[in-house]
């Protein structure tokens, strides 16, 4: 059984935001408009965080693409009264919309602010709905949504590979953000496979997990932007 994970090389990431829009396109994430966005209701399953350091003129800015970390010990899971948020065998934090009753406990529990609540039914002004990806559910008002590691692509590739009677190749599954990334900062794959690129990168001495000390055991490894060593 695979265990899906991601590595984000912060030395490659330049904060362009291609992943953000790619995610919207792939996952039918609706835009909420300026009024709702100003109330903190915009939904971005992946975002690029910015960390300013220092003051003018010695200023540094670091980018960090941040999405659901698909924690191995996820704080969102035990708080869900309906098991809408639960763990799959292949290491994903599933969000089952059918079960979600919108308590938002999970969003409170998530230390990464990776979960987004649907305050409204999504709307696509015609004919924008023609773009919708039929492989991904449309979430209705009152449910939580978040990054799925593009589970539709994982399942699709698993089906294809099984039909063709073969194993999944390393790098064959690319979530939309990984596929979009111009700098190849994002790498996705199976952490159980010691030879996979993601598992190699996850073992890098530059690697660390976000908020590791809270014990969430994320599946995403960040490779630090270090200037001193090559």
């Amino acid at each position: 059984m695979a265990r899906w994970g991601m590595a984000a090389d912060l030395d490659r990431c330049n904060g362009c935001g291609g992943c953000v829009v790619a995610c919207h396109a792939e996952n039918n994430i609706s835009t909420v408009g300026p009024e709702q966005a100003s109330r903190g209701r915009a939904k971005h399953w992946i975002r690029v965080e910015r960390y300013w350091e220092g003051d003018f003129p010695d200023v540094k800015l670091k980018f960090r693409p941040t999405m659901c970390q698909q924690c191995g010990n996820a704080p969102c899971e035990p708080v869900c009264p309906t098991y809408a948020s639960h763990h799959t065998e292949d290491g994903l934090n599933a969000q089952v919309y059918n079960r979600c009753i919108g308590t938002r406990y999970c969003a409170n529990a998530c230390p990464y602010n990776a979960r987004f609540f649907d305050f409204f039914n999504p709307s696509w002004e015609k004919p924008l709905q023609l773009q919708l990806n039929p492989d991904v559910s449309l979430r209705e008002v009152g449910v939580m949504e978040k990054c799925t590691f593009c589970v539709q692509r994982i399942r699709g590739t698993q089906t294809t590979a099984k039909t063709e009677g073969r194993e999944i190749r390393d790098g064959e599954i690319q979530p939309a953000c990984v596929q979009a990334c111009s700098t190849r900062a994002l790498v996705f794959g199976d952490l159980e496979d010691r030879e996979s690129e993601v598992s190699r990168l996850s073992r890098s001495p530059r690697g660390s997990k976000l908020l590791e000390d809270v014990g969430t055991r994320p599946a995403v490894t960040y490779l630090a932007r270090l200037t001193e060593e090559a």
Partner: protein
Amino acid sequence: MDRRSFIKLTAVSGTSAALASCGNPENQFIRFLPDEDIVPGVAVWKPSICPLCAAGCGLTVRVMDADAEVTRDGQAGIKRIAAAKKLEGAPAHPVNRGGLCARGHAAIQVTYHPDRITQPLKRSGDRGTGQYEAISWEDALAEVVSRLNGVDAANPRAVAFLSRVGAGHRSALIQQFAGHFGGSPISFELFGDDVLRRANAVSFGRDQLPTVDLANARFVLSFGADFLGTWNSPVAQSAAYGDMRRGRPGIRGSFAQVEARMSQTGASADEWVPARPGTEGVLALGLAHVIMAASLQPAAAAGRAGSMVAGWGAGLSDYTPQRVEELTGVPAARVDRLARQFAELRPAVAIAGGAALAHSNGLFTAMAVNALNALVGSVDQPGGLSFTPQFNTGSALKFSPAAQPATPLQMLAADALSGAAVPQVAFVDGVNPVFTTPRAWRVREALEKVPYIVSFGSFLDETSALADIILPDHSFLESWVEAVPESGVAAAVASVAAPVMRPLYATRATPDVLLEIGRGLQRPLGAAWQTFDEMLGASFATLPSTTPDVDAWTDAQTKGLWSGVLPAGLARQAQAVADGATYAFEAPRFDGDAKQFPFHFLPYPSVPFGDGSTAHLPWLQEMPDPLTSAMWSSWVEINPTTAANMGISDGDVLEVASGHGSVRAGAVISPGIAPDVIAMPMGQGHTMFTRYATGRGANPAEILAPVTEAATGALAWAATRVRVTRIGPPDGSLVLFAGGIREHLEQEHR
């Protein structure tokens, strides 16, 4: 929309066969016979080309069945169509190599935009009000043809064609069309690169943007070029940047960025070097001085590019580190260190672009950077800059070269206003000069003098709303598309792609319309082709095929591109410009008195919107800006110390006033900007540009001074001085995705 109607919508539109619920009222709708056999739920992948900037990234478009609501002869119904679902970077395309930027991903919303113009329109109200009535294609084209038949054939300025900059076939056709009436197409880009092209023509004999081999560079020094965000070919450059950092075992390329306001690119630099606006060239020559003085390279190594710089042969004695510190504000020790890094970390490359060249002395700055590159041997070398061999579409199609150079837009406007030369007919294709030009040029008033304006726009914007007739283009997914990249790739590339889907509306491809108009004229255009794809076929047939037993045209359609070695006659020729002049630093000229207007004003291309041409796409409106996390807004960036001195807090409404006007927006207190600089992103402030962009934010171009670069006449868009006034507390117009500018001070996580 309430829930019930939403459910109905999703059911009706059949976002997938599986999604459509049982018992939805499909029988209430008429179903039209589809135009093609479509296997439901199965994706087909087709090549296309991103149209949103000049880089020409290759796309792979996911096409699947979808149920579109259509109206046929007044009867509304549902029709199954093969619809584009998602745009992805084409993995095999040499420019973007599978990557795609935010704008590229959102390009699909151009096709499905709810405010697209769906058929030809004739103006029925006053100009600019957006009141139009439907007209048939036949009547519309007949009207345009009769207008063109009536123009004064002896007047080369009777027909003005405003279009985008480009080297592709569409541009060649427009060139030919405009040339038929004795003129040349007029292109204006606010953040254009005319200064750099001229500098490259003078230094290297190449009137072209450079391709930078970042992937092999050890040290990159960028003077103002936002090459990872908005400048030149950002996806190609980002891909190479990733490899520069982590693509070579044991080697990590270093990178310093010189600019007064930290751009997205500057944020990725190891070292951010704020220099006084307009003095970037001095810093470049300061580095050259140190390199020569320390005998790291001889002056002669720079060859022609060096000889164009005054004082080069004498070791640039005017540009000592101390003198450079006085002029630029960059400490002398840092100048010395950067110079040594640049000479010793080989290969090293310098890039010039953006605001650094948008001053009255921009050409000097570009020449200085070119000379610095030449000095360390970084021209046409791995890890340096080179020039992409470019397919000359004009010669492939046997078009006659331009009769005369294009009239600059500001001259067109001035002459129209003064009555010296008023075009009788103006065409507008893919540009919005009313929005992107300084208000001081009065382009809107000038266009209002033109008796007849034809627009090919897909949307009503500030310029197309002045048109008397609108002949809407297909979206790029519905038409033949092509691109001839100027930069971003080592070998010559010409991309081409067939339509990905059938047109949704009664639109027509603009090149086809031009050919049709050309056939209808009393004095026909005389093009040998009925349609644009025939023209493309003729052009690609001149290229050598790169696949055995397949002709080049068929091969290019299959692959989405042709790439190879250009035959001699088909490459754009290098053109040496020898004006005999040498270039020396002259203090940049700023508009506005330093006492009355204490700040430098820096408009900059926004990452999602560029110059504002993509502000109508909702995904881009809601995409958080990389540096501020702002969405759906305009803002004013101001240094924290300056803000504190003026009593300005985050989000406060500020008025930014130049000698030419004022704009208002919320304050973003940003650590990455010099204390005497005020920056604003371009893109918002549209008065008319679909439901998503109209009336949102402010347009910084409105207050720009009409200062031009001295040698090229290009707009010096960074040469305006402004004053800033706090108007009041936050008014809610500034929307940030994160709470504030500092997400939080990172405790370095490892």
